[in-house]
């Protein structure tokens, strides 16, 4: 799985550039590379549905972020306790990663999932739902209720954006 690790390292480097870059537009583009890397990783991990969706969503996120960014300033300011705060953050993240490193060994080995109910989907999915694409059969039949939630959340976002973008909020 060398290519997977290489892609992950590429994504991490992209993310660090996105965080550290001072120009906002470059930063957004760097996030784009992370997203494209993720799309490729999905393809390697045998999830073509997700690769397509990730690619499309990536484009949309980039368009929205560029629109939010374009021709805007980037004031670069450091607060008084910059060093202290950064130190605290690094210590927190360090502790987080150490704990993850110690505890993660208890997970099932990579590449050998338990697949208790997934086995059932794979064995019976085609017969029970008639859909060849098992991911489709899961999201639209076994777990269609989640998809209702997904559609609703998009509707909520549309309503929310409409609400936030009103020019006049209160009647005078």
């Amino acid at each position: 799985m060398l290519e997977l690790q290489l892609l992950l390292i590429f994504m991490i480097i992209g993310a660090i550039i996105a965080v550290k870059e001072k120009d906002l537009l470059s930063s957004v583009i760097a996030v784009g590379t992370v997203g494209l890397g993720l799309s490729l990783v999905f393809l390697i991990l045998k999830a073509p549905d997700l690769a397509i969706v990730q690619l499309v969503v990536e484009i949309l996120v980039i368009i929205i972020l560029i629109r939010a960014t374009i021709r805007r300033d980037l004031p670069f300011s450091t607060s008084g306790r910059w060093f202290f705060n950064t130190l605290v953050t690094f210590v927190f993240i360090g502790v987080f990663l150490v704990f993850i490193y110690l505890y993660i060994k208890d997970l099932p080995q990579f590449g050998q999932p338990i697949m208790k109910i997934a086995q059932r989907f794979i064995a019976e999915g085609l017969r029970e739902t008639g859909a060849t694409n098992l991911v489709s059969s899961v999201i639209l039949d076994y777990r269609a209720y989640d998809t209702l939630g997904e559609a609703t959340i998009l509707f909520t976002a549309v309503m929310g954006v409409l609400a936030v973008m009103r020019k006049v909020g209160r009647k005078k």
Binding site: M11, A47, L65, F92, I93, L97, L107, P108, P113, I139
Partner: protein, 112 residues
Amino acid sequence: MSVYFLCLVLFSVGLYCILRKRNLIKIIIGIVIIEYAVHLFFILVGYRMNGRVPIHSPDQTVLDMVDPLPQALVLTAIVIGLAVTAMIAAIAMRVYEKYGTFDITKIRKLKG
């Protein structure tokens, strides 16, 4: 194991960005990175070594497919992430319109 760890390193890069950066767009970027890391982790735990794509084909009856359930969940989670990102970006654009800056240290109408 190293793959899981790398994925969580990506998560902590995003976390660092949210905790330390003082720019609204940077904070949104941090959220996007965190979401990517979590989605990736979900797919990683469902991967079966040398598995096939979870789509049946007429000429094959071997059932060594990868786990389709995390893929379905992440599909939902990606849409949720998109909705949240759009919402936060809209709020950030309005904040810029009102305050004329993305710098969080200058956006201080609220005390505490």
